[in-house]
């Protein structure tokens, strides 16, 4: 028994080493940094140890704005994108002849570069001195007032960011969900039909529970992905996200690391740890909820 254990660890050693060097060590390091006060990256010295870095970022309006933005983004895009993807997948699943074509079309955003797509979105939504942009033309058409979605009011910018995020994450979800739907054994549907089950009830009582593990997977990865959003915002609003008021937590970390005057790695570390704590908490809550509602 002991000998076997020893062997098992030996086999695991390469993996453990890699994980240790590239994942655990950096994590611990970030944790340590976040408690070192007045760290200077040039001299690699610091004054003392304590919670000052946390207190600093928690009083930094830019950080608070970033947290707020991130939460709004998460709370809106995860349910909306998952729900929409489910709707589209179910529809796709019921029209067999065109399924493959549609799947390709929906998958395009996934293989397209985020920044390029962001640029397209910006052009669609931006209002300049010379043109109102396509979306505003549409709004005018329906008798609305032009809005500058890129440099205008906060809600407009947030709307574009959410819209864009949903659009980018949908194809992956649709792909996964159509796969899950197709793999549900047809006999269950036949059995339900013979038992006189309505279509709505078939969906809620059979389809949903059957694909619940997949939905749950999408929700968890969706949450994590949305909490780590950054490039989407950059694609739409440029690199000075603080000025645009559209920064995200990861964006804030990035700005703190590489921003003006050599950056503040300690603040960045503290912000990163806060993000880590948030994601961990949310994921644990998700897991707890799933225990109750996910079958198998």
């Amino acid at each position: 028994m002991d000998k076997n254990n020893w062997k098992a660890w030996l086999y695991l050693l390469p993996a453990v080493l890699f994980l240790g060097v590239f994942m655990v060590y950096p994590l611990v390091d970030v944790f340590v940094y976040s408690f070192e006060e007045g760290y200077n990256s040039a001299s690699q010295t610091f004054f003392g140890v304590g919670g000052y870095n946390y207190s600093y970022i928690l009083h930094d309006p830019y950080f608070l704005q970033a947290v707020k933005n991130t939460f709004i983004l998460v709370i809106i895009t995860v349910p909306v994108s998952t729900g929409l993807a489910l709707l589209i997948s179910v529809a796709l699943n019921s029209i067999k002849p065109l399924r493959n074509l549609y799947q390709t079309v929906y998958f395009l955003p996934y293989v397209t570069n985020t920044l390029a797509v962001g640029l397209v979105f910006m052009i669609l939504f931006k209002k300049t001195a010379y043109s109102d942009g396509l979306i505003n033309l549409l709004i005018n058409w329906f008798g609305g007032e032009s809005v500058d979605f890129i440099d205008g009011p906060y809600w407009a910018k947030m709307f574009v960011l959410c819209f864009y995020t949903v659009w980018v994450v949908m194809p992956f979800k649709i792909l996964i969900l159509t796969g899950a739907l197709a793999s549900v054994n047809q006999d269950y549907y036949n059995a339900a039909k013979v038992d006189g089950t309505s279509r709505g009830r078939i969906f809620t009582r059979i389809t949903l529970p059957m694909i619940s593990p997949t939905i749950f997977y999408l929700v968890i990865t969706g949450f994590i992905g949305a909490f780590k959003a950054y490039s989407d915002a950059v694609a739409l609003f440029g690199t000075d996200l603080n000025a645009a008021g559209m920064n995200t937590i990861v964006g804030y970390v990035y700005d703190m690391l590489y921003g003006n005057s050599d950056g503040y790695p300690s603040y960045a570390s503290a912000a990163a740890i806060v993000l880590f704590a948030i994601v961990l908490t949310i994921t644990c809550i998700n897991l707890l909820i799933s225990k109750k509602h996910v079958h198998y």
């Binding site: 269950y188 036949n190 059995a191 339900a192 039909k193 006189g196 089950t197 309505s198 009582r205 079958h295």
Partner: protein, 367 residues
């Protein structure tokens, strides 16, 4: 409720390259299934049994023909509204629901006047579960049950709404031999108690013979013969039916009718009245042989299998079309295993003659 099929046909498009013709899975079914009986649909794999069942359940639409439940034409009625119970070959129990929830599922679908309260549903579910003796497993999930238990849950789920017609698609094929035996008797009992017209699909002739009131033998989409199991066994209409029923299977010989006598090889086996002179297929049931030193059929002895009550005499004959001949005789007979030849007399009600080309049974009197 009786079920009437009129010229029922189901064709599937053939997907093989170069083949134009459709696959006719169910070919011109024209028959009546009597009320309250247990009927077996019997045939080799791929002969269209499941297709026929799915036409009855409404999961498939017929290409042509009509289906009546009692006096109602249900041909165009969707599966949801037919009120049949269907047990799938793989049970198709909902894996995320408990046994209780699985059984209650059909009840929850009832609408309008038939709608039940939660308590009524619970009660009905329990009642049905007791009938099938799974009431102690109500709170388990399907994956926590044995194959036989799952099968009984599947039957309960199909029974609980008291369907007009119960359809079972090879429900016993996933069970081991012992459980099969037990469950088929159970099935018979449940059918007797409920009196629901039941159609039972199987490719196991023994299963069909042992529990059904009536069997329907089919081959390549065409009904060959219907009737009480014993009647079909005792009087098969063609060689296929004769070969399909019975274990061990019937022994088939190439024979010839000549001047009122039946010849197998050089042996004049028996007399035949009412048959023209021509070569025929001769079918002799294993229990149709009698040992006799002066018997009319001589075969070279291969061996003897003693099985308690019976013994099986295995022998060869050049005219045999079905390999070694198996003759089952009472164990009271003594067989001299050292002798090179055994001689049999053949019981006239256990021997059938079939046309060499059409393989249809020849109508003649054998003496």
């Amino acid at each position: 409720m009786k079920v009437v099929l009129q010229n029922l046909t189901k064709k599937f498009p053939n997907r093989n390259k170069g083949v134009r013709s459709d696959v006719i899975a169910v070919n011109n079914f024209d028959m009546e299934i009597p009320d309250g009986k247990l009927v077996s649909l019997l045939g080799p794999s791929g002969c269209g049994k499941s297709t026929a069942l799915n036409l009855l359940s409404g999961l498939l639409k017929p290409s042509s023909g009509k289906i009546f439940f009692g006096e109602d034409d249900v041909t165009d009625l969707p599966a949801e509204n037919r009120g049949v119970g269907l047990v799938f070959q793989n049970y198709a129990l909902y894996p995320h629901l408990t046994v209780r929830q699985n059984i209650m599922f059909p009840l929850e679908n009832l609408k309008g006047a038939a709608k039940l309260t939660k308590a009524q549903m619970q009660e009905k579910a329990l009642e049905a579960a007791k009938l099938v003796q799974i009431h102690e497993l109500m709170d388990r999930k399907p994956n926590e049950l044995s194959g036989g238990q799952q099968q009984r849950v599947a039957i309960t789920r199909a029974l609980v709404k008291m369907p007009r017609l119960l359809l079972l698609d090879e429900p016993l094929s996933n069970l081991d031999a012992r459980l099969r035996l037990q469950t088929r008797e159970e099935l018979r009992r449940i059918q007797n108690e409920t009196g629901i017209t039941t159609i039972f699909v199987t490719h196991d002739q023994e299963e069909a013979m042992s529990i059904s009131d009536m069997i329907i033998v089919m081959k390549e989409g065409v009904i060959q013969q219907t009737g009480r199991p014993q009647d079909v066994y005792d009087s098969p209409v063609n060689l296929f039916v004769a070969k399909f029923l019975g274990t061990p299977p019937i022994n088939v010989f190439a024979g010839e009718v000549k001047d009122g006598s039946l010849y197998i090889g050089q042996d004049k086996v028996c007399t035949v009245k009412g048959a023209a002179n021509k070569p025929v297929w001769v079918g002799i049931r294993p229990e149709g042989f009698e040992l006799d030193e002066n018997g009319t059929l001589s075969c070279s002895l291969v061996g003897v299998e003693v099985m308690g009550r019976d013994i099986t005499v295995i022998s060869n004959n050049a005219a045999s079309e079905s390999g070694a001949i198996r003759a089952i005789i009472s164990a009271e007979n003594r067989v001299d295993t050292s002798a090179p030849v055994v001689r049999f007399n053949v019981k006239s009600n256990k021997i059938f003659l079939f046309d060499k080309e059409t393989e249809a049974r020849l109508d003649c009197e054998i003496g």
